[in-house]
Symmetry: C2
């Protein structure tokens, strides 16, 4: 493959994670180190920054600040949820992207995100080919939801999983402190896939497991849920429940959105989310002390509790995308291939963007128990290696020292 | 003072913290090391364990497991919220306590807790004196609320403060990721005192401060709150708000409990707590994207983010209680005296139990700004030294390795 010389753009998209910036840093550093890449631009707020001609010049950043991206949560360049049109229907955005690419002689485009972002990558890549503009396009996976197809796991998942398992372990201590006991219901992200809720089961290796884990892969049944909580309460006078925000009834309606009148006699709108609602139902039906806890944004931004394995692999994904593109690859997403036999190892591979875009990977049914209220040992064996290693995040004044980028806009 | 030889009891009371076990370990270790103390008992669930004759023999524990108490959140011996009667009204409990003390030859009683626990200590001490039973009684302070009188600060506060400031710093990153902005409302514990909510201001030293901080020391005004959020929204299109769960209107009613019909037209019961309710009001009135986050139990049990300063000082408080009692002191609470001139230093002092019991220390009015929507630099100067130092908590399988006590019950 012939050498392609030109500038590169890295963009971040979708919901943030604790380590998306580690991938950005992997890509930026590989770009800065490469002879084929003339300038490294960071798109302000993902593809929106390209459309708005707002690109930050990474070459002008302090290298030490750039390196801190490894420990800085959320998307340092800014993110977006902008979905570009199908180019056959409306190619306005694509014409604009081409214009910007030409303006800055962009020959490499890297997009870091989840399913939608891989779709964006795929469309841009196809359009550039169609109009004959030589540009290599690579997707870098990212999502705490861990639902991207074809990769062992997704950068970002492990750090969220580690935070969830750590928090469950700690809440377990707190919930067991009084002689009178408590039901604790912990709400975890994951609208369509239960990987994150399943991470609550990792606490089992500490001896402080969640007793019940409900995933969106299984239809939720309120009566069975109350039976399960009640049985455990009778036995232990203490129950830890982890629920995915995406659990739904057999008819597909989200439990969090349903008015629960049919089940519990309440008819008012729920404000406080699923955990608060389930806590209310348990209190009403079982008359026990109950606490609903929503991990909320914390689980996707708690970089102080990130997995160093996740940080290293996220960096690797970004770096591999750039190095592979410079070597001639295009139209691919970086993915992980892992082995757990005789110790954990992880290497990268490349998948066709068109094969991964818009397909959601769910927790295999065989990793969920028959009652549908917990995951199996196979899930733990899969996820536990990913949360190993403590972040080397530097602190200043006892608090995280995040990257402070100059963000000098290209002219 | 003559030597007093006999057994000791350490009990834990009230709501857990990340470091209450560090104090217990300080007391237990000093007891095990002392020639005057024959046996070290841990009361199961505080004073309830004494009343029920359920004492754990600490001498029989593995020393390595005991040392892990420094990094184990919540109350490893179990806690209670039992309030003993005034002995002049009903001395049943006191007679029973005396009986147990005699049974095990207990000559030292240490109680680790907040205001109520100091009151319990005080009453027991007075009763033992009245009946002529020689027993030294010492209080060890503990409360994330930081509202105990006479001490610079309370063990437990700093670790919660560190977690809160860390989480604010991280949520700040997450909230600023989209170009369209967001109002984030973070609900923090503290029913009557705003020390914990004030800790949100510590994030200012990272450059990622909470914009607005509301404490229960100030009457809350919903109209002013909406004005403040609105003004900041116009300016930055992003607002981080920290609120104490204990904020109340001028008439004393808690904002969290008030039906907000007068203010926002809603009349239904609030399930999801204060953050969800305020988020709802902001969304309704200002029409902006808003997220309510309740730090819930996490802030008092997140030992993985504890302050090593807090761990060390908590240990010191427990150790000092035992060593002082052995040296002849009784009827006292261990307190901290700190200097912040030319670096932070902390020493212990002893206060009379009768002087500290049942008095709540609030954030000084002069540390709150005139608008009542933030704390001043004086607050930051006070609290910042306390959150320094990272916990040395050991991990196993990437997760906290907490103490596992054998809990062998005395016969």
């Amino acid at each position: 493959m012939s050498e392609l010389k030109g500038a590169m753009i890295i963009g971040q998209s979708g919901g943030p994670t604790s380590v998306i910036n580690a991938s950005a840093y992997g890509a930026i550093k590989a770009g800065l180190d490469s002879d084929s890449i003339t300038t490294v631009y960071g798109a302000a707020n993902g593809i929106v920054g390209v459309l708005n001609d707002k690109l930050y010049v990474m070459d002008k950043e302090d290298p030490a600040e750039l390196e801190l991206l490894k420990y800085t949560p959320s998307s340092a360049l800014g993110s977006c949820r902008y979905k570009i049109a199908d180019p056959d229907v409306d190619d306005t955005d694509y014409k604009r992207i081409l214009e910007i690419f030409k303006k800055y002689d962009v020959r490499y485009f890297f997009y870091n995100g989840g399913n939608d972002s891989m779709d964006t990558c795929n469309k841009i890549s196809k359009y550039m080919k169609k109009v004959g503009y030589d540009c290599r396009v690579m997707g870098i996976p990212k999502t705490i939801d861990n639902d991207l197809f074809g990769t062992d796991h997704c950068p970002g998942f492990a750090s969220a999983a580690k935070y969830i398992a750590t928090s469950i372990t700690e809440v377990y201590q707190d919930s067991h402190v009084y002689d009178k006991g408590q039901v604790s219901i912990i709400e975890i992200m994951g609208r369509h896939a239960g990987w994150l809720a399943g991470a609550a089961s990792l606490a089992a290796v500490t001896g402080y497991a969640a007793d019940l884990v409900y995933l969106p892969e299984v239809d939720f049944n309120m009566d069975e849920f109350l039976e399960d909580v009640s049985a455990l309460w009778e036995k232990n006078h203490n129950v830890i429940v982890a629920v995915s925000e995406g659990i739904h009834y057999a008819d597909g309606s989200f439990v969090s959105e349903a008015k629960t009148s049919a089940t519990d006699g309440f008819g008012h709108a729920q404000l406080g989310g699923l955990a608060a609602m389930l806590a209310d139902v348990v209190k009403e039906k079982l008359g026990v002390k109950v606490r609903g806890i929503e991990l909320s944004l914390l689980q996707r931004c708690a970089a102080h509790c990130a997995s160093q394995t996740d940080i290293d692999e996220s960096f690797l994904a970004g770096q591999t995308a750039v190095n592979s593109a410079v070597a001639g690859e295009t139209d691919k997403m970086v993915a992980f291939e892992c082995s757990r036999e005789g110790g954990y190892s992880c290497t990268t591979k490349l998948l066709n963007l068109s094969d991964v875009a818009n397909y959601e990977k769910k927790v295999p049914v065989e990793w969920i128990n028959e009652r549908g209220n917990n995951v199996s040992q196979a899930f733990i064996d899969y996820a536990l290696p990913l949360i190993q290693g403590e972040t080397k995040m530097p602190k200043e004044n006892g608090l995280p020292r995040f990257a402070k980028l100059a963000k000098i806009v290209a002219e």
